[in-house]
């Protein structure tokens, strides 16, 4: 099932495995039915990687991300973060949902600082980092705006700042740009690329957009549905710094995007 096209980082000599998903199965049991969301999924994420997870609806992409963060527990198999087994919600990750999930009564700055308040972080340090993130994501001038006064893109930037305030080991994003219009989404992709590159982040992104996945990721994981499983992984051999237009025309981009689309197409034609 799991064929690896190019030498995968997991087989290469790398020691910095940050996330280790080891053969996990997740089943949701209710009184009436039992649904297997994931079966036998394994995935390693190395320090500094950007993983994009794509797949048809209902293939358990989000469940996989939630299992890494510990919000959802595994039925079989185990997940480790930096060698520690994940048993409950983990505080060393940053999580971004599709909806910004900002507190409507807090302005942008206080929404970002919620992270610090909940964790009991050092106030001065948190404040400094908050201002830095506000500036970095272009939220300057909007610190005192309430969420409902902001566009979807700006709201998602605030959510991103909040998830980065505590400098998490890994940033997990569940379709963070899915609700944005195409232009804003593109802009956010460019910002995300720069952020990952300049801040030495490790990230995992669930997305429906193949272009977004290949543009951002160092490795694209294609999943299939019923039950959710990993179909194939592709390493994207593009430089760390990627210009949007240039990347869109790069033969490597087209090669990977083409293969991913092919796989997704055949996956959905079986339905």
């Amino acid at each position: 099932m799991m064929t690896v096209e190019t030498p995968s980082p997991s087989t290469a000599v790398e020691t910095d495995t940050l996330v280790d998903v080891d053969d996990i199965t997740i089943r949701f049991d209710s009184k009436k039915s039992s649904v297997v969301a994931l079966r036998g999924v394994s995935l390693q994420i190395q320090q500094g990687e950007f993983i994009a997870i794509v797949g048809p609806s209902g293939c358990g992409k989000s469940t996989l991300l939630r299992a890494i963060s510990g919000i959802t527990s595994t039925t079989e198999g185990s997940v480790s973060l930096r060698g520690d087994q994940v048993v409950g919600p983990r505080q060393d990750v940053g999580f971004v949902f599709q909806r910004p999930a900002l507190m409507p009564w807090r302005d942008v700055r206080r929404n970002i600082l919620l992270q610090a308040e909940m964790r009991g972080m050092d106030r001065v340090e948190a404040r400094e980092r908050c201002e830095d993130l506000i500036q970095f994501t272009g939220l300057t001038g909007f610190e005192k705006s309430l969420p409902h006064q902001l566009s979807g893109g700006m709201q998602q930037r605030a959510a991103l700042c909040r998830s980065l305030l505590h400098q998490p080991d890994v940033l997990l994003m569940d379709e963070p740009f899915g609700a944005l219009d195409a232009l804003t989404r593109e802009k956010m992709n460019v910002e995300m690329q720069r952020m990952w590159r300049e801040r030495d982040m490790t990230a995992a992104l669930v997305t429906h957009s193949v272009a977004e996945a290949v543009y951002l990721a160092t490795r694209v994981v294609v999943m299939g549905a019923r039950p959710g499983h990993v179909v194939e992984e592709f390493t994207v051999n593009l430089p760390r710094e990627r210009d949007y237009e240039e990347t869109m025309e790069d033969p490597e981009f087209h090669r990977v995007a083409g293969r991913v689309r092919e796989l997704l197409g055949s996956a959905s034609s079986h339905e």
């Binding site: 963060s69 510990g70 919000i71 409950g88 919600p89 983990r90 505080q91 990750v93 940053g94 999580f95 949902f97 909806r99 999930a101 507190m103 409507p104 009564w105 919620l114 992270q115 308040e117 909940m118 964790r119 970095f136 994501t137 272009g138 939220l139 300057t140 001038g141 909007f142 705006s145 309430l146 409902h148 006064q149 902001l150 566009s151 893109g153 700006m154 505590h166 804003t184 802009k187 910002e191 720069r194």
Partner: protein, 279 residues
């Protein structure tokens, strides 16, 4: 990031201003329309009494009612004070107990199952029917009136509290668990503020019911308060005084409602119900 001018959501911040026109027109109409309607009602009332359509012992004229109000100022003020105190104490107890119950029931399924039937039972019992029992238990002081007010006001607060606390965004709670916040912090910083809009709606309903509760308590056995004034006036066939007491009672309810409305505007300015209120 420097290349981009951050976009504000124009549709929300700009367009209402265009349609709003004169920012005062909204506020004026909020006062003028009901005032005109009220004037119309008083005119009809005055017409009905001055033409002799309704005799004074059935419907007192507006002049007689005004006379009853102004000539008995001190007497009415004393009894209004009594009823107001009973109402406010009853309302405050109901608010504290109601919110506390809502919190307990949202956090514990077992306690919810235990308490819910009892709360419902307390609600469906006609308060006027148990008020005499409270008099037997608690005597003729303010306590039984406060208790009836609590019973009346309690239910909408619990219901609004439960539904408010449940309406919190589940993703916000997941986020809280990743942030490692304690249950207390999660409650204070996320769950409770999210519940405020619904809770305040419940409190507004409860405030008006608390007045009714206090007066019902007074009907059953009291020698002071607006309920007592009504019973006295009724006994003397003094409909003007009866009307005067009724008007004060309504004013008391409206006043409490307005106070909560102000609290609402201050505490949840972010809520959709308070955005562009003048539009």
């Amino acid at each position: 990031m420097t290349t981009e001018a951050p976009e504000r959501r124009g549709a929300r911040t700009e367009s209402p201003a265009k349609f709003r026109g004169n920012p005062w027109s909204g506020r004026v109409s909020a006062i003028a329309y009901p005032a005109v309607f009220l004037l119309l009602v008083v005119l009809l009332w005055w017409g009905a009494t001055s033409t002799g359509m309704a005799p004074p012992y059935i419907l007192p004229s507006p002049e007689d009612t005004w006379a009853a109000l102004s000539e008995n100022g001190a007497y009415l003020a004393l009894h209004t004070w009594v009823t107001a105190v009973e109402t406010i104490i009853g309302f405050l107890i109901a608010a504290v107990v109601g919110v506390g119950m809502a919190v307990i029931m949202v956090y514990s399924r077992t306690l919810e199952r235990t308490f819910y039937p009892i709360i419902l039972f307390a609600q469906v019992i006609p308060k006027i029917a148990i008020a005499p029992l409270f008099i037997v238990w608690l005597g003729f002081g303010p306590e039984p009136k406060v208790l009836v007010a609590v019973l009346m006001a309690f239910f909408p607060i619990v219901i609004a509290g439960i539904s408010g606390l449940r309406s919190v965004d589940p993703e916000a709670l997941e986020l809280a668990s990743i942030m490692g916040g304690s249950r207390w912090k999660t409650f204070i910083k996320i769950r409770f503020p999210a519940a405020l809009p619904e809770l305040l709606s419940g409190l507004k309903v409860a405030a008006t019911l608390a007045v009714t509760g206090a007066v019902v308590g007074e009907f059953v056995g009291a020698n002071e308060g607006l309920g007592y004034v009504i019973l006295q006036a009724n006994g003397n066939l003094d409909t003007a005084m009866l009307f005067a007491a009724l008007i004060i009672m309504s004013a008391l309810g409206v006043l409490l409602f307005l106070i909560l409305e102000v609290i609402e505007r201050i505490s949840i300015p972010w809520h959709a119900s308070h955005r562009n209120k003048d539009a």
